[in-house]
Symmetry: none
Subunit: 222 residues, 4 copies
DNA sequence: CATGAATGAGAATTCATTCAT
DNA sequence: AATGAATGAATTCTCATTCAT
C-alpha cells in the first residue's frame, strides 16, 4: 500500500500508565476495578452487572469499590468516560499527502470508519449509550465527543481542502462529512449493532466502502 | 398536496378495538398485561421493569401474570412481537400514480421514513433490540421483519419501476433502497436514537429529506 | 416346588373397579386423581407435590380436585388410605398343609416378607409415613393396620400351631412373630429404606432368609 | 452397677463451647444459623422449613444466611453433616474388662443401643434421611458413617474377642453384629420411628434388651 | 485504605384455594 | 360437576450499600 491517505490515531496506549505511583507491581487497584467493571458492563449491561461481580473479577473486596467510587452509577460513568476517551479510535485526520487517486482515498477512509465502528469496544459502547439513554443521558455526549465529532471534523477539514483544490465541489463540508459518515454505516455497521448476521470480512467492508466512495463522488465530483 | 406518491399503511388502529364489547376498564386481562408491560419495558428497559410494576399498572395480581405468560422473558418477547407487528408502521409501498415530479416523491418518501422512525414507539423498540441483543437475539429479527424489510422491499420495487421507466438508472435496486434508507437516517434519526438534542420539526425533517432526495438524484439520475 | 407353606394374598386387583358406575369408558375421574396423586406423592413427597401437577397428570382441571376432595391434605390421606388398603401385600397366613421341612417353610416366609417389604410401593409408603409423621400422625396407624398387623397375626398363628404340634417351643407367639419380622429386616430392607446400595437379587434375599430361619430355629427349636 | 461392659463415647459436649470467649448471645453467627436451621429442619423437615424462619430464629437477617451458605440445600447438608458428626452418639466399643456375666453385658449393650437410637436427635436425623432420600442421596452415607458403622464395628470386635475366648461360637462376627443391632430395634425403635405410641421407659427398654440378649445367646452360645 | 459480614428491600416465581361461568 | 383464570401470601435468592475491624 503505497499511500496513506488518512491517519488513524492510536490511543490504546494512553491508558497504560495513568498513575505511575499507584500500583505495587502491576496496575493500581483503581485501574483494575475500572477494567473489570468495563468488561462486565460491556458484556452484560448496567443492570445485569453487580458490584459483587466487579469486585470478584477485579480481585478486590466489595468495600474497596466504594473507596474509589461513590456508588455503582459513579463507577459506571467513570468506566464509560475512560473507555470512550482511551479506546474509541477515530478517524481524526486525513493526511495531506499528495493523493494521486481521490476515489481510493475516499474508499480507504470509509473502510477505516467501518472497521473502527464495528470494533467490539465501539459496538459495546454504542449499545450502552442506547440502552441507558434514559437513565444516563450524559453518556451520549461523551460518546459523541470522543467518538463522532473528531471523525466528523477530520472529514470536514479534508473535504474543505479538496473543495479548495477543486477536486470536489462541496459547499457545506460539515454536511458532506455527516453524509459520508452516515453512508458508511450502510449494512455492516447497522446490522452489527443489532447483532444481526453480517459479513464483516475485509472484502465485504471494502465492497461497502467502494460503494460509498462512488456514490460520494457522484454527489460531489466537479 | 396534490399527489400521494407513497402509501403508508396505518396499523395503529388495529389494536384499538380488540374486544369490541369490552369497555376499556374490562378489556381482556391478557391485553391489559401486554399493554402495561409494553409501556414499562419501553420506558425502563427489561431489567429495570419488575413483574410487580407490570401487575400494578395492569391492575392485576402478580400471580395473574403467570397465568398468561410463562415468565418474564416470555411476557417480554410476547410484548415485543405484538408491538413490532401492530405498531411498527412502515413505508410499505409507493403509489404507482403518475408522478409529475420525481424529486418531490423522493423527498416525501424520505420524510415519511424519518417521521416513522423517530416515532417514540419505533425508537423504543430499536433501543430495546440494541440493549437486549445479547440476552434476546431474536428481537432483531422481529424488528427487521416487521420494521425494515417491508420498507426496503417497497422502495426497491419503486426504484425498479423508475429504472424501467427510464427515470432513474439503477442496476441494483435493493442496494439503492438500502442507501436511500441509510441516508434518510442522517442526523435526525441517529441523534434521536441516542437521545441527543435534535430538531425534529417538520421543517427540519423536510430539510434532511430534501438533501436525501438531491443526493439520491445525483447518484442515480440518468 | 412341592409345598406351599405360606400364602400371600394378592390384593392388587382389588382396586380395579371400586366404582363401576362412575367412569365414562375408562376409570372414573375420582380414581384418576387418586392414582395420579399417588404417583406424585410417592415420588416427591407431600410438600414437593403441587395440586397443579396432580391435575395435569390426571388430565383434569385444578378445580376438579376440589370437587372430589376437600383440600390437599384430604386428597393426601385419601391416597394413602387407598394405597395402603389395596397395594400393601402382606403375608397374611401360612398354609396348614403338612410340612416335611420346617426350615424351608421359615426360609420361604422370610423371603416373602423381604420381597414384599422392598417393593417400591411399600418402601414409598414407609417413607411417606416417616417423613410426614409430625404433620399426619394417622398415617402410621394406617400403615400398621394394613401392612404390619396382618403379617404379625399370620405369623403368630402359625407359630402357635407349630408350638401345639411340638415342632417349636414358643411361649409368646406374638413376640416370636415380632422377632421373626424384625430379623427379616436385616440388611436388605433396612438399607433399601435409606436408598443405600444393596443387593436385592433373589439369591441375596434367600441368603438373608436362610440366616433368619437358622437363627429362629436355634432360638425356638425344641 | 459394678461392671461397665461397654463404653459410650459422649460427644454432646463437643459443641457446647465452640467459641469460649463469646457469650451465648454473640456466639458466632455461623453457629447460630446452623443451630436454628437444625432445630427447624428436625422439627418440620426440609421443605416445610423456610429460610425466613431460620433467619428469624437465629436472629439474623435473611441475607446473612447467604453470606455463610450457598443456598438452602447447602445449609441443609451442612446442618446434617454437623449434627451427624457431633450429636450421633454411638456404641463405639465394649470394654475388655473381665465380665463375670456375659448375658448382662449383652443386655446392657442392647439397652444402650436402644436408648441411643430413640434419642430425639437420632430419630430426627433418621426421619430426614428417609424423607429426603431422593433429593439428598448423600445423607444416608453420612448417617451410616457417623451413626451405624462405628456401632457395628465395636460390636463385631467384641464378638470376635468372645469367640476367641470360647464364650461364644461366632464364625461371622460382622453378621452377628448386624443381627444384634437389628434385633435391638424390635418394637421400641421401630415404633418410635413411626411416631407410634410405645413405652420407652427404662423398664420397657430393659425388657426388650433382655429378650435380645437371651435370643442372641441361644443363637451363639457354645 | 482494605476488608467482608450484615442488612433489608425487593426481585421472580410458585402455590393452594376460590369462584364466576 | 367441570373449568381455569384470579388471587395474594409465601418462597428462595440477589443486591447495593454500610460499617466495625
Amino acid at each position: 500500500m503505497q499511500e496513506q491517505p488518512f491517519h488513524e490515531t492510536m490511543t490504546k496506549t494512553e491508558q497504560t500508565a495513568p498513575s505511575p505511583f499507584r500500583s505495587r507491581g502491576t496496575s493500581s487497584k483503581y485501574e483494575r476495578i475500572l477494567q473489570s467493571a468495563g468488561q462486565l458492563f460491556l458484556q452484560q449491561g448496567y443492570e445485569r452487572t453487580s458490584m459483587s461481580q466487579i469486585a470478584h473479577l477485579a480481585g478486590v473486596s466489595k468495600g474497596s469499590l466504594y473507596n474509589h467510587f461513590e456508588n455503582k452509577a459513579g463507577l459506571f460513568t467513570a468506566f464509560f468516560e475512560e473507555r470512550s476517551r482511551t479506546r474509541l479510535n477515530t478517524l481524526k485526520s486525513v493526511s495531506q499527502a499528495p493523493q494521486p487517486d481521490l476515489r481510493t482515498a475516499l474508499r480507504q477512509a470509509s473502510a477505516t470508519i467501518i472497521t473502527l465502528m464495528i470494533d467490539p469496544e465501539a459496538i459495546g459502547l454504542y449499545r450502552i449509550v442506547v440502552a441507558e439513554a434514559n437513565e444516563f443521558p450524559n453518556l451520549a455526549d461523551t460518546l459523541w465527543h470522543y467518538g463522532v465529532s473528531r471523525t466528523l471534523t477530520g472529514l470536514a477539514e479534508w473535504f474543505a481542502e479538496k473543495h479548495a483544490a477543486g477536486q470536489l465541489v462541496i459547499e457545506d463540508s460539515d454536511l458532506a462529512a455527516e453524509q459520508f459518515l452516515t453512508m458508511s454505516q450502510t449494512r455492516i455497521i447497522h446490522r452489527t449493532r443489532l447483532s444481526l448476521p453480517v459479513d464483516t470480512s475485509p472484502a465485504s467492508i471494502d465492497e461497502v466502502a467502494s460503494m460509498v466512495a462512488d456514490s460520494f463522488l457522484r454527489m460531489y465530483a466537479p
